[in-house]
Structures are given as structure tokens and as C-alpha cells.
Symmetry: C2
Subunit: 319 residues, 2 copies
């Protein structure tokens, strides 16, 4: 199977919204008038972002999911993506599974594959995704205001728990491990919630490197601080896969576990009912975990509201 056969067989589909899709030097796309475009790129490397044993269908899903999560964090509607793929060899079973997972998710979100590149080399998956929002309605990191409520979507820490189990640091019942592993390998980007929060959230980010780290990006960009109420976080430790874990491990997973692709966002207390409506309309639970302050610092409040110090770190590829 040659390079062009491979593209034809596993990746080329008739153009839908695109004026020109796969098969020319460029894809051609007419943007919706009155809209801004949002772009994000993520690269997944074997051994770094995923294990070589991962189900290729999940990997296809996740490769796009992590990009859609960035669009969600800006409140953007997915439109199209480009896929660059470096493969050790043209393995038909792998390609079949990978493309199946990829296209299932892309079709769910109406996000069309319009181009890319295929080459031989160490396994590497690089996707660039494009979405749009009505002009001026992108939700950025820099809009948080002192006094805002602080929220997270869904539940946190499952992916980190799976990683701890893979690394032998914790032993889990099989059903819990399977569930945590599924969240790590096959995350759900919060696309509907992100769009529903347009005009409501003042600032938002997705949680790819850990809550504290990604919230830290919002705080830095907005030049504000925040207080997280650990008692408000406890319900997050009683959902998902964390309920059976020791408290300290569960807290670590929630506060600094990455790879869950939930959203962290800030909204005025006056918008509290709108936040709940957005959560309901998108079918995504949200939890208020603290508030934005003018302190320039990120503080964890323990039992009784007293600050506690932490050494939680977010993930850094070159640290």
C-alpha cells in the first residue's frame, strides 16, 4: 500500500462544507461571514502521550478530542481539521482502527478532515483544528475578574489515576481501572458546554496539564489570583473513579492530574443561574470550586477556610 493509496483508503472522504478538501495542494474553505476563526494544534507522540499498546480506535478519537477541547475552551464551534501523520509502517489494521475512532468523533461534531500529510517515521500525530465563533464572542484566558466564581466541568483526576495505576503506584479494582483507563484513552471534549458559555464565562481554559496549572494560565493572563475551596472539591473526589482512593491521592489527581480535558472557567456571581442553564442545556455538570481574587496568588483553602500550602505541579514536557 503506497502513500496515496493509504490516504485514499483511510482518510479521503467527499468534501462537505469545504470548497476543496483532500487531494489538492491546499484545502479551500469559505469562512462564515460575521465569524472569527479559532485555531489550535496538538501533537501526540508515542511513549510520551500514549502507550504503544493503546487501542488505535481510542487513539484516533483522542488525537482529535484534545484539539476539540481547545476549541471548547474558547467557546468555538468545530469546523474542520488537518492531520499530519508519521507512521513507522502502513499497518492496515492500525490505520483502520485509528481512522474509525477519528471519524466517529469528527462526524459527531461536524468537524471535517480537509487536508494533512502522511510520512514514514516514528509514530507522531499532529492535528490542527479550526472552529469559529460569532465575531467578538471567543472566550479567552485573559478575561477573569476579581470576584468571579470559579467552576470546573465534569469530574477530574481519572486520567491521572489510570496513569498512577499503569506506573504501579496504586492498585485498583479491575472495574475502576477500566473506567479510569477509558477516561485517559478516550476523553470527551466539552464542546457543547464551551459554546453554551459564550457571553457567560469571562475566562476559560481546558484542563490538559492539571487544574492548578491550567487555572494558573488564566490567572496569569488576567492578572488576578484565586482561592480554591478544597471542601468544594471533595464532591469531585466522590464521583468518577476516585471514590475508593486514599484522600491524598484523590486530591492530587483532582488538583494536578492532567489529560481529563474538562473545562475550568470564571463567571460573575450574577451569572450563576445562566451557568447552571448552560450546564443543563449541554448535559455537562459543573461545580463551583472557589472564586477569583485580586491577590495575584492561587490559594488552596482547607477545612475552616485556612490556607494550605501545596507542591502540586502541572505537567511540563521539558521540566
Amino acid at each position: 500500500m503506497g502513500e496515496f493509496d493509504l490516504i485514499e483508503r483511510f482518510f479521503k472522504r467527499p468534501a462537505q462544507r469545504a470548497d476543496v478538501g483532500i487531494g489538492d495542494d491546499c484545502a479551500v474553505w469559505t469562512p462564515r461571514s460575521g465569524h472569527q476563526l479559532a485555531f489550535s494544534a496538538d501533537m501526540l507522540v508515542e511513549g510520551r502521550h500514549f502507550l504503544s499498546t493503546v487501542n488505535p480506535k481510542f487513539l484516533g478519537h483522542k488525537s482529535l478530542a484534545v484539539n476539540l477541547s481547545d476549541l471548547a475552551a474558547c467557546g468555538a464551534t468545530p469546523q474542520a481539521f488537518l492531520l499530519s501523520l508519521s507512521l513507522p509502517r502502513a499497518d492496515e489494521a492500525w490505520l483502520s482502527g485509528f481512522s474509525e475512532g477519528l471519524f466517529q468523533l469528527s462526524e459527531l461534531h461536524g468537524c471535517e478532515l480537509i487536508g494533512g500529510d502522511t510520512t514514514q517515521g516514528p509514530l507522531n500525530i499532529a492535528i490542527t483544528v479550526m472552529g469559529d465563533t460569532p465575531q467578538g464572542q471567543s472566550i479567552l484566558r485573559r478575561g477573569a475578574q476579581a470576584g468571579d466564581d470559579l467552576y470546573v466541568s465534569g469530574h477530574l483526576g481519572d486520567a491521572r489515576l489510570a496513569l498512577e495505576a499503569f506506573q504501579g503506584n496504586v492498585s485498583l479494582p479491575q472495574a475502576v481501572f477500566d473506567s479510569a483507563r477509558r477516561r485517559m484513552e478516550c476523553p470527551t471534549p466539552r464542546v457543547a458546554l464551551g459554546q453554551a458559555l459564550r457571553g457567560i464565562a469571562n475566562a476559560m481554559a481546558d484542563i490538559s496539564d492539571g487544574l492548578l496549572g491550567d487555572l494558573g494560565h488564566i490567572l496569569k493572563a488576567s492578572q488576578v489570583g484565586a482561592e480554591i475551596d478544597t471542601s468544594a472539591v471533595i464532591p469531585l473526589m466522590q464521583t468518577g473513579t476516585l471514590w475508593s482512593c486514599p484522600h491524598d491521592l484523590a486530591l492530587t489527581c483532582v488538583l494536578s492530574g492532567g489529560d481529563d480535558y474538562e473545562l475550568v472557567f470564571c463567571a460573575s456571581p450574577l451569572a450563576a443561574s445562566q451557568v447552571q442553564l448552560a450546564a443543563k442545556s449541554s448535559g455537562t455538570p459543573v461545580t463551583r470550586i472557589g472564586r477569583v481574587t485580586d491577590s495575584q496568588r492561587l490559594v488552596l483553602l482547607g477545612v475552616g477556610g485556612l490556607p494550605i500550602t501545596t507542591s502540586f505541579q502541572s505537567f511540563d514536557h521539558f521540566a
Copy 2:
């Protein structure tokens, strides 16, 4: 040096045309009204697309150049790009050279780096580039008409000659080798010519995999054939680095050498003077090398106009 420091130090620059550049979950961009967007993605892998010994400044240049070449092939004006980079380690000297070559070319074309990703792994450079054209003016592969003249820009085969020398298949005088190597490592995308050919060229492609192969893509997409007059190709073998080579090697380099990033295009004979004006206005020589036919076949005409058979192949990563 951590991941965020690395981005801050070598890649983050103030947003220019972008509403939001590097540093948020997404870049945000307002497209020009009345314009279509053109997208292309290329991935460069160490050992496959470049040697580990290549000057990182040239590599930074080439990584963007091959993408700009795709925009040129559609007649698009470069706008912005995203860079995903997998690096074995955060090598400051390498990053400094790479980013210098990258930004020199991006600034030359007003093509802004708006986002991307950085991770640790085997060296891999994945760029997605965006350009635009006035609505409906993209030049596609599928527009070639029987009777069109067939042209190439600049001169062909230098990069292939350098590769043959690297592989020890040919011995070259040092100055010739240096010149050929420079073309391979630091190609010039024909961006100005591509734009100048809007409304003139009926079909166009860039020559990344070899003239015959890339022309083949045009012919297939347009459901036409072509005749290449090898006597018209001979002037191309007397420019650049090929003048001192044996005839057969020079012909191989011209017809099936890849990596030159020249343009091959088709235009009506009635537009011949407009083609020459476009060449002049963009400072890029063009050579007429044959014509488009309704035969569905690609034929090489030898001395006296007789067809010759060839076994020239274009490059296929999985063949």
C-alpha cells in the same frame, strides 16, 4: 529551560494581524471579507526529510518554505501558520538557529506564527499554514484544459542532484555541490509567481515529489494528458547545478527529482503573454515545456517529436 520558557523565548512574538496569537487555548483570527482561505499541512521527520547534520537555520526556513510552496501552488497569499514541534531535548543553540530561519522567512511573507504545540520526542516538525485568495480565485489541480501550454518555474533537479551526491552516486565539484545542497536545504517557495498567476493559470501544483509525479496529479484531477518536449527541457538542464552532469542523470533530476518547490502550471496559449508578464512581475523565470492533451496519458517527446518511454517515478513514502 521548561516548555513554557522555550515557547516564550524562541517562538512567542506580539500578535500582529491575529486577534489572539500564541498563549491562549486557541489563536483567534478574523478572515478578510470576500476571501477564501487555503490550508496546507506538511510534516518533516529527521532522517526522512532532512539529515541530522542540517544547519538548524536552514531547517527552520525549509519547514515553512514547503508549506508556503503549497499556498503558492493555489495562488494564495500567506497569512498565518501553526507549528507543532517534537524535540529530543531543549537545545538552545538548535532552537535559536531554527527559529531564526523560520522567522526570517515568515516575516518576508508576512505570515504570522499564531499557535502550535511543543513536546518531547523524536525530532518532528509539523506546520499548518493558512493563506487566502479573493473568493473563487484559488488555482486548483483540476482546471487543466486540452490545448493548454505547460510551464515550469525556475530550474529543476538541484535538490535531487544534491541527494545523489550525498548518497555517493555522483561526485561534484565543491562549488556545484554547495549550490545544489543549498537549494535542497533552503528552497525558495514561488509565492509571488503563484499569486501573479491568479486568473491566468488554469491549473497548478508545486513540485515536491518530482515533475512527472506532480504533473501527473494535475492530469489525473483534470482528466487530461500531456506531452513534455524533452528538447524544451534541455535549457533547464543547462541552468542551476546540472550543466556539468551526464545527460541521463540531468534528465532524471529534472523530470523526477523532488524537493525543488518550483511550480508546474497550465495556461491557455492565448494567455502566453500574461504568463510572461506574471513571470517578470514576480522576478521568477518560467519555461514552456509542452502542452496539455486530451489523451489521458503523459508522453515524453524525444528528438524529432517521437515519444520515448521512461521509468521515472515520483516519490512515495510507503512504496
